[in-house]
Amino acid sequence: MSRRTRITVLVPAIGVLFALLLWGFAGIPDFGHYRGPYGFVLNHVATPERHVTNVVNATTYDYRGFDTMGEEFILFAAVTGVVLLLRGSGGPRRTVDDDVRSDIIRAVGALAPAVAVLVGLWIVAFGFVTPGGGFQGGVAVASGALLLFVAAGYRAWSPLGNEKLLDPLEGLGAGGYVIVGLAALVSGLPFLTNLFGPGIAGTLRSGGSAALLNWAAAIEVAAANVILTTEFIEQYIAPMVRRRG
């Protein structure tokens, strides 16, 4: 199909789709007039019932924990795909001389990753108390690894981008989630039932076994994102190595 025919076919189709979407949205309650009931029910029952103050995280890892397991495996499959396509295609691992020579960047480079990792861990740990959780914190931790590459260079970063370390960690995150689910089955309860009691609301001891799911997701997301950046950084570095012989 030529480019022009494609656009001629596309524009009316998109116009119809846009009109259909607007027509459909006109039938749902006005913005700001959410009718529920699920959101209202969860907002009322989550804190008394599960002793957690962050209802979003309670939804993610407790009420909809099974759905999150599926999401985790989409993530796992996508990362596996990237690894299958890219790993090893950059040639043997060698090092490049890209050491950062600016003192100020080196100082920031030493500090920023530590801060990012610390903030990430904090976001994960307090996931059931204040805004945060495994997904958000995991990404923040992974950004620490990327900051190390950006500010300190390939050589400083390269021990981190080690698949022998990252692959088992990612497996631990994905597998750990399922194991927590299976632990409930073994003790005679439905899959992913929250074990060991609800804990104390508003403290780090809240969430019960959903707190373990939170940490499993954090490990999975952090490892997955570091693996992704590793694979792309290797692709970026490979031609530089070749050019210099």
Binding site: R3, R6, L10, I14, L17, F18, L21, L22, F25, A26, I28, D30, F31, G32, H33, Y34, G36, Y38, G39, F40, L42, N43, H44, A46, T47, P48, T53, N54, V55, V56, N57, A58, T59, T60, R64, T68, E71, I74, L75, A78, V79, G81, V82, L85, L86, S89, V129, T130, G133, F135, Q136, G138, V139, G202, V221, A224, N225, L228, F232, Q235
Partner: protein
């Protein structure tokens, strides 16, 4: 004005679709796909918004305070993270296409295979 956020979601969706179909570069195409996908976040979060509602977090807030829907937030936050990894997969495929075909223009790739 009360439908404006929904209209924005619909607009983001079709703009992304237009970009996907008319794209001349696979990387641009992948970005357009994420634009389309982002329309679902705008829609979900607008559906769950309650006028005057606070965040669905009750640390130091009295239980029963009007809050927005936590379910749509949970859906959006997991999907944002998952969509990044899927984007990485698409970019890896684009890299592979570039290696095999020497171009990232979808039209040229189609032309090569007749």
């Amino acid at each position: 004005m009360s439908y404006l956020p929904y209209a924005v979601a619909a607009w983001i969706c079709v703009v992304g679709l237009y970009g996907i179909v008319t794209s001349r570069n696979l990387i641009h195409l992948a970005v357009c796909l994420t634009v389309t996908q982002s329309s679902t976040y705008v829609l979900l979060l607008s559906v769950g918004y309650v006028h005057g509602g606070g965040p669905p977090i009750f640390k130091g807030v009295k239980l029963g305070t009007t809050s927005v829907d936590p379910v749509v937030q949970a859906l959006s936050l997991t999907d944002i993270v998952v969509s990044v990894t899927v984007l990485a997969l698409i970019l890896a495929l684009a890299l592979d296409v570039h290696r095999q075909a020497g171009t990232v223009d979808p039209d040229e790739i189609a032309a090569m295979h007749g």
